[in-house]
Symmetry: C2
């Protein structure tokens, strides 16, 4: 506690990340917390640190931390001889976060499958639109791991190597 306050620009970033994540189904607080954990010092922050930095209640911190951890966007760690829990957003979690993008497409694929089932007795021509959309989602869902893999390989191969042959 008693860490330095955010600068104006840091606060702007934290707030913008809050709005950005809120625009895609998470809460503003989730975005703020993630944003702060991406730029804070030290890297690991206790619930008290976060409540202080984000001017939020303990309850909000608790619930939001769970949401972010479930989504694979932050990590929670405990230390022996310390009751507190430490939150952080280390680079490793980004890969997991990226892979999770596939879950979205899977969700939509499943919805379209239920829709197609509801149209079971309609002529194939009527079902074509939804079938096509289903195929789009299924394709992307299947493609995500490959993209993740390519990213990891590019990073491992060094920043200089681009390997962007068409």
């Amino acid at each position: 506690m008693l860490a330095r306050m955010m600068t104006v620009r840091e606060s702007a970033f934290v707030e913008e990340m809050g709005q950005a994540l809120a625009a895609y189904g998470m809460t503003p607080m989730a975005g703020r917390m993630w944003g702060w954990l991406l730029i804070c010092d030290p890297v690991e922050q206790t619930a008290g640190d976060l409540a202080d930095a984000l001017q939020a209640s303990r309850g909000a911190i608790s619930g939001t931390a769970r949401m972010l951890a479930t989504a694979g966007m932050i990590r929670r760690t405990k230390r022996g001889g310390d009751r507190r829990e430490y939150f952080s957003a280390p680079p490793e979690v980004f890969d997991q976060f990226l892979a999770n993008a596939g879950r979205i497409y899977r969700h939509f694929r499943e919805v379209t499958e239920r829709g197609l089932a509801a149209m079971a007795d309609r002529p194939p021509a009527d079902r074509a639109r939804l079938q096509e959309l289903h195929d789009v989602f299924a394709f992307v869902e299947q493609e995500v791991p490959a993209v993740v893999d390519r990213f990891l390989r590019e990073r491992a191969g060094g920043a200089g190597r681009k390997d962007r042959s068409a």
Copy 2:
């Protein structure tokens, strides 16, 4: 007007699509309208048809139709000698919808860039996390067109052709 009502299963699909899109930043009505346009008969529906089918006000239909059209998820067409406007969700729009996914990643990349600018005077080690996240977004953003292209080629090449060499 006076088209048949939705079956229970159709209604369930429409409602589920409403919730699904609502979970990702659009309104429930947008999801319902999209869902209905994916399964309705005839394919093209007037604003009056939609208001009737979805039990929604004309105002809601108007605003929602604009939102979906802007997002490239539906098409609006007009015919000579008919003042009405027709809405539809033909297969062609899905490609555009898929390509739009790149916009999301671009948005996040830009946010992270502003964050990095806000950390300009911090040591490189502190900036590493956010820089890494930025690289993830930038990579995916750049990768989206290739994925779209691959989908189009697979579809054009026939359902049997898979071409999934690593």
